[in-house]
């Protein structure tokens, strides 16, 4: 199968799974925005998603996307390290015009995954999984807004997430145009255009996420709004 046994094939898998994850991020960011303006609306979306069959199917696909993206990332990197040979350069300079992120995608990716694990433990574990398997009996799996706001009231949690978004931003700025390049959707004319589009897009996504985190902190951590809670 060329998607696994050729270098370009493996890269296509990385690209397609990456673009799919970008789509997910876009959706996730839009959904989060609701929370700033109406916790009820947010909960309604959570309720609509919940642990229904179609959400579970989508979650499975999403998980597969993540897993494939991550496994291929490690696989490719191992191959690349091997291809580099045994001796390393004593002096190494990043050439002009080469983005730092492009040479550190794995590191950025690992940062993203580590946060992802925390993030899952904070929310997915207590929501979808809880709804399915009742792993946290004392948490209401349907009260997403309460869960989220409770976390983002803390400044350090917001700071932690902001670090994550920065890593994500770097990851996306290279990942986006690089994915299009890898599936062959590029040429001299579109080269800079895709880079600009990718940068704008990554910035919108990351700013969107950051806005929600900061806004929640300001609303509930600084201004001291009361955290709305659904009746259990």
């Amino acid at each position: 199968m060329w998607l696994t046994n050729s270098s370009i094939g493996r890269k296509v898998v990385m690209s397609v799974s990456g673009l799919f994850l970008v789509l997910f991020l876009t959706f996730h960011m839009c959904m989060n925005l609701a929370l700033v303006f109406s916790p009820e609306a947010y909960n309604a979306i959570c309720g609509f998603l919940g642990a229904r069959w179609y959400t579970l199917a989508l979650t499975a696909v999403l998980a597969a996307g993540f897993v494939v993206h991550i496994i291929f990332a490690f696989w490719l990197t191992l191959q690349n390290r091997k291809a580099r040979g045994t001796d390393r350069y004593a002096v190494n300079v990043r050439p002009q015009g080469v983005e730092w992120s492009s040479q550190n995608m794995l590191v950025l990716g690992i940062i993203v995954i580590l946060f992802l694990i925390i993030h899952m433990a904070q929310f997915w574990f207590k929501m979808q999984l809880n709804e399915l398997a009742n792993v946290c009996p004392d948490v209401n799996p349907h009260d997403g807004s309460y869960l989220v706001i409770s976390e983002f009231k803390n400044w350090w949690m917001v700071a932690l997430y902001l670090v994550w978004f920065v890593a994500l931003w770097f990851h996306l700025t290279h990942g986006f145009w690089s994915a299009l390049h890898t599936i062959g959707f590029n040429n001299n004319t579109w080269f800079n255009r895709w880079k600009v589009i990718g940068n704008v897009f990554a910035t919108i996504i990351c700013l969107g996420f950051a806005f929600v985190a900061v806004a929640l902190y300001v609303q509930y951590g600084v201004l001291g709004w009361e955290v709305p809670q659904m009746a259990h």
Partner: protein
């Protein structure tokens, strides 16, 4: 009028493919800033020979930037710190008196060291042998003007074809990927009607050979194009991807 400089050189010395290499430090004095980098190494070698030592082995031939024989990873850059030139065109006026220059061979699993700074780049020949040609025999060609080729296509093919096969792309790539080299040849021939006929076959065969020889996977860092002495464009890689994916989808 002539300006001269003194330098400290840290040169990688390695007996053969399997031997362990290490840096040796040498001092050269009175190097004319008008001389080329390789001429500076000639001076070093003359000095070593006079001291009864073995000279530093490095590849070089035409010394005018076209044969692709010279290599050298100088202060962290393939072909040195200047842009769009080969090592033989690098001139000493790019360095300052008292500088320390670190000179390493291309380091990549695909290019094993033969001796000191000389590496084995026959992998590139094998990739070309896999498909970097049009399958025509001498004698069968039609008149050269029988097929019209848009000037823009011919020019773009020429830009891709200007690759000199020096290996700087692999040397610069943190993944040891040969994609820029392969894509330059695939692009050149894919852009011309004469090469279009077997474009799919070529892309498949050359990529398969490249993978087989242990070159890394391209992650589009762009270091290859940034360091390419002939400024071969990264967009060739997109074209190779396109040609390859198209070919595979046809299978």
């Amino acid at each position: 009028m002539e300006k001269t400089i003194d330098l400290t050189l840290k040169v990688w010395r390695q007996r053969d493919r399997k031997a362990k290499g290490q840096f040796e430090t040498y001092n050269v004095k009175g190097i004319s800033t008008d001389s080329s980098f390789l001429e500076m190494l000639d001076v070093l070698n003359e000095q070593l020979i006079n001291e009864g030592k073995e000279p530093v082995v490095f590849d070089h031939d035409c010394r005018e930037g076209i044969c692709g024989m010279c290599s050298l990873y100088i202060n962290g850059h393939p072909h040195g710190p200047d842009s769009a030139i080969t090592t033989c065109q690098l001139h000493m006026r790019k360095f300052k008196n008292g500088d320390t220059i670190t000179i390493e061979p291309w380091r990549s699993a695909g290019f094993p060291v033969i001796r000191d700074l000389m590496v084995d780049r026959t992998a590139y020949d094998q990739i070309i042998a896999a498909g970097g040609y049009t399958s025509i025999n001498v004698g069968g060609a039609q008149d050269a003007n029988a097929v019209l080729i848009p000037k823009t296509d011919a020019d773009e093919a020429m830009d891709a074809a200007s690759c000199i096969g020096c290996g700087a792309c692999v040397a610069a790539c943190k993944n040891g990927s040969a994609m820029l080299f392969v894509s330059a040849k695939v692009s050149q021939l894919a852009l011309l009607p004469q090469g279009r006929v077997e474009a799919a076959r070529r892309a498949r065969a050359m990529v398969a050979k490249m993978d087989e020889l242990g070159f890394g996977n391209c992650t589009n860092t762009g270091a290859c194009a940034a360091e390419c002495p002939k400024s071969v464009s990264l967009s060739n890689i997109a074209r190779l991807n396109r040609e390859f994916i198209k070919a595979k989808l046809q299978d």
